[in-house]
Every structure is written in structure tokens, then in C-alpha cells.
Symmetry: C2
Subunit: 288 residues, 2 copies
């Protein structure tokens, strides 16, 4: 895992425009938003999915970087005052606090463009048509029927009590879509049959949901432990969570059941899928 | 011209997610931002460039729509309070006034994703590799070394007196890059040799700059005529313009000279380029 994370740091540093190139402040903000940050869960998933289909690492790193750039842009915009109004991210001031709102807005916009640019300008698949399909997959996952749509639902549901189907619909879009895209892009860099791809897609759906359920549990735990409150930031903002919808113990059961589903989906893929299985464990058992 | 505009309205209405589909409010905002608006200069340029290379209209309309979606997203974000803080656009309340800031932000984000999605999911060129190059072209034109970069320079230059080279650098990015992309994508839908493409690219550079010079002149004229002031909104906002940098009469000369350069670049292309020539005239002689 550490090797993928170190590799991604280097790849992203190379793919992002240098901070000295004009407009320097914009490029500095884009680098600030993307580098030295995060668990790189999506790149880890892309690499692990690539392993199943024997994809070359120099292709995987580009596909993974494209997904990570979309993720980074979404965090910058999500932190803006008109959205979650967050001032800290990964222990650092958020991009708009550090660079101002307008530059943060443009940095997010330009990170999204860059994701599609790198996906189109490197050779990632034997068939260019397969590579166009990767562009389509990432765009759909990022757009109004994917991640951006999920954020809209999140926005509208703040302060309301969502039932389980609505909560699930929101998260399938907000986090699930991009996590699925990471897995799909990773396996698209290699060669996999349709049946194998379908298994990986089922895996990705379960892991994507598990990721969000665990996020909600961690938010609940952190606040209970460190703030002495019964609910964390999401609850304080009136955001519906799995914990608020089903209670903490059922949420924990759900995370475990999604982990088991994810691992189960990999049946028949053998040792090539060992890293994906380990990542399902990591997503559910992580403490941060 | 009218037929391209009517066609684009129908195409965009078809490509944008229906306003009834969830998340409905986001989709309504995306449609509000894109439909019934604008001169559709970029689609007109894409269609006219396609005519030079004999491109099919059903391909051109997709390429033109992708460029127009990028343009529409940039207007939504540009109007936000942290940017130009505009409340009116094309005689209607801006997207954030109508839908709120958060939804406007997400609508812009999702319009950008949609542009790349449609560019990847329709058949636009015989060679998929050429179509990947179209994705790359549009992404680069939209990004930090294209339109978003130009907006950053605009942001930083407000309140300062830019010299001509800096002003030109800004506009080559802010408006020029996307106008060039419209022409390049239009000719990529057909078949053109490299020498012909180079002519169209020279044409596009001149038209792109001319477009901005004329915008500045119109802003100056409008305010002089209707507000009785010596300068318009840009000047009030402290934005450097061609008029403020070189005076109104030299700005008019420059617009005319760029028009002549644009038409000159088309030499040797014959009647196939008649629409492009007419568009250069339209861009410079327009009164709105």
C-alpha cells in the first residue's frame, strides 16, 4: 500500500502544472489541494483492480491519478463556504482559506479539466475505443448522475431525516460512483473478460457503500471519544448518516456485511484479487 | 446562423439530463444555465469549421455542444459572488440567484463533466484516437493553461493596469482558448490536412482575440450611451480592457485588423470557408 501511495505522490507531482508556471497562484492552489494528502483509497483500488487484469503500472498510475484529481477537486469545492464551509482538511487550512475563494473555485475547476486531459493524452489501453470508454466512465461518475448529483442530494437532505433507501441513493452517488470508477478504470488498463469485470463492479459497489458507512461510524466514534458528544460533525450539521438512520450497532453490522459481500464478489479470481480483498478489509477496519 | 442556433437548442435540450430526473433541482439548474441563451458563437464556429472539412452535422452538433457546455459552466462559476458577483445574465437572474450558490457551484461542475461525457460517448471521428485528441484539446482549453487560467489572471489583474502583452496573455487564455477549441473540434469531425488545420487555427486565434476586443468596445459604448459614463462595467470593476489599455480608437483599429487577419488566414480554402469568413465579420461588427 505504501508503495502505491508514494508512487501516486510522485505521479501527481509530475502531472500537475509546476507552481512556477503562470498562472502561478492557481497552479500552487491545485498542487496544495492534491499533494501530500489523503489515504489515496481510489488509487489503491485502481492499482488493485489492475492487478487482476495484469495491467501495466505506468498505465494504472495515470488512470488512478485522473480519479484522484476528480476526488481532489470535489473536496476543494465541498469545503467552500457555500457548501460545507470547512476551514481544515487533513490538518491543513482548506484551499479557500489558504488561497481565497475565487482561486479555490478555479483550482477545483481546473483539476477537473486536468483529470480528463491526462486520461486522453496518455496511452492507457490497446484499443483507443476502450480508452474513450474510460473517459466516459469517469465523466459519468463525476457528473450530475454521479458524484456531483450525490452532493446535491446531500445538500438538500441536510436537516431532514432520510430513510434508508434515500440515504443509500445519496451515497451510491456521492462516494460510490467515483470508487466504482476507480475500480473500472483500473481493470480497463489491463485485459479482463466481461464476467470478471462484472465481479469487480459488484466488489466496487459494496466497497463504495462500506466506505461511507465506516466514515459515518468514525465520525460518530471520534466525536463521542474526543468531543464527548453523542454525535459528530455530520450530526451537528444536521446531515443524515447511517448511524443516525439505523443506530451505531446496526451500522457496524452493515459495514461488516458489506465487507463480506465485497470479498465474496471476488470469488473465483484467485490470488490476483488478494489485494482487492485486503483493501476491503482496510476500508472497513480503518480507524481514520 | 439561425439554423445552427435552433439546432443547438434542440441538441442541448436532448443532451442535458431531464429536469424531472433526480437530482431534479441540479438538473433544472444545469438546463437553466445552458438553454435559451447566448449567441452560440462557439457552436457557430464549430459548424463553420466543420464545413471546411466536410464534417457530418450529427457529429458537429455533439462537438459544438461539448464546447458550449464548458462555456455555460464557466459563466455560472464566473457569476458567483466570490467571482464577478453578477445577478443578471442574458436578462435573467444568474444561476446562483435563481437556485442558490451551492446548487450553482454543483451545476457548473456537472456541466463540465457532461461536456467530456458526451465527447467520449458519441462517435465523432473515424479514428477513436482522433476522438481522444478532441477530448484532450477541450480539456486543455478549459484548464489551468486555458480558460480557467485566464480567469485566474483576470482575477489577479483587477485593479491593476495591465500592459498590452499581459492583457493579450489573459485573453488568449480566458476567451481565446475555448474559441480555438471550438474551431479545432469542428474541423476534427471532418477530414482536413495538417496545412488546412493550421490555417483554421490561425483564423481561430485572430477571431478569439477579436471577440474580446469587441466585447471591451461594446462594454465601453454601452456605458457611454446608456449610462453617460466614460467607461462601462469592466472599468467600474477596475478590470483592464483593450479600451483602457489603448484607447477606443486604437481598440477599434485593432478589432478591424484582427478581422482582416482572420479572413486572410482562410486564403486558399475557397468557398468551403465562406461561413468562417462571415463569422469573423459577425464577431467584429456585432452590436451586442
Amino acid at each position: 500500500m505504501g508503495s502505491v501511495q508514494a508512487r501516486m505522490e510522485a505521479v501527481l507531482a509530475r502531472l500537475l502544472p509546476p507552481a512556477q508556471v503562470a498562472p502561478a497562484r492557481l497552479h500552487a492552489a491545485m498542487r496544495y489541494a492534491t499533494l501530500e494528502g489523503g489515504k489515496r483509497v481510489r488509487p489503491l483500488l485502481a492499482f488493485a483492480a489492475g492487478e487482476v487484469g495484469g495491467a501495466a503500472a505506468d498505465r494504472l498510475e495515470i488512470a488512478a491519478a485522473a480519479v484522484e484529481l476528480i476526488h481532489a477537486y470535489s473536496l476543494v469545492h465541498d469545503d467552500l463556504p457555500c457548501m460545507d464551509d470547512d476551514v481544515l482538511r487533513r490538518g491543513k487550512p482548506t484551499v479557500h482559506v489558504e488561497f481565497g475563494e475565487a482561486t479555490a473555485l478555479l483550482a477545483g475547476d481546473a483539476l477537473q479539466s486536468l483529470a480528463f486531459q491526462i486520461l486522453a493524452e496518455h496511452l492507457l489501453a490497446e484499443e483507443p475505443r476502450a480508452q474513450l470508454e474510460m473517459v466516459r466512465t469517469l465523466a459519468a461518475a463525476a457528473g450530475s448522475r454521479g458524484m456531483a448529483g450525490g452532493q446535491q442530494i446531500d445538500l438538500e437532505s441536510t436537516g431532514t431525516a432520510l430513510g434508508m433507501p434515500a440515504l443509500e441513493f445519496m451515497h451510491i452517488h456521492k462516494t460510490g460512483a467515483l470508487i466504482r470508477a476507480a475500480v473500472i478504470l483500473g481493470c480497463s488498463c489491463g485485459s479482463l473478460g466481461e464476467a470478471e469485470k462484472a465481479k469487480l463492479d459488484r466488489y466496487a459497489r459494496s466497497v463504495g457503500l462500506a466506505f461511507q458507512v465506516v466514515d459515518d461510524i468514525l465520525d460518530y466514534d471520534a466525536s463521542t471519544a474526543t468531543l464527548g458528544k453523542t454525535a459528530g460533525k455530520d450530526a451537528r450539521q444536521g446531515k443524515p448518516t447511517y448511524v443516525s438512520a439505523m443506530g451505531i450497532s446496526r451500522a457496524r453490522e452493515m459495514a461488516e456485511s458489506l465487507r463480506a459481500q465485497a470479498v465474496g464478489a471476488l470469488e473465483g479470481l484467485g490470488a490476483r484479487a488478494a489485494r482487492l480483498a485486503a483493501l476491503a478489509d482496510f476500508v472497513v477496519l480503518r480507524k481514520f
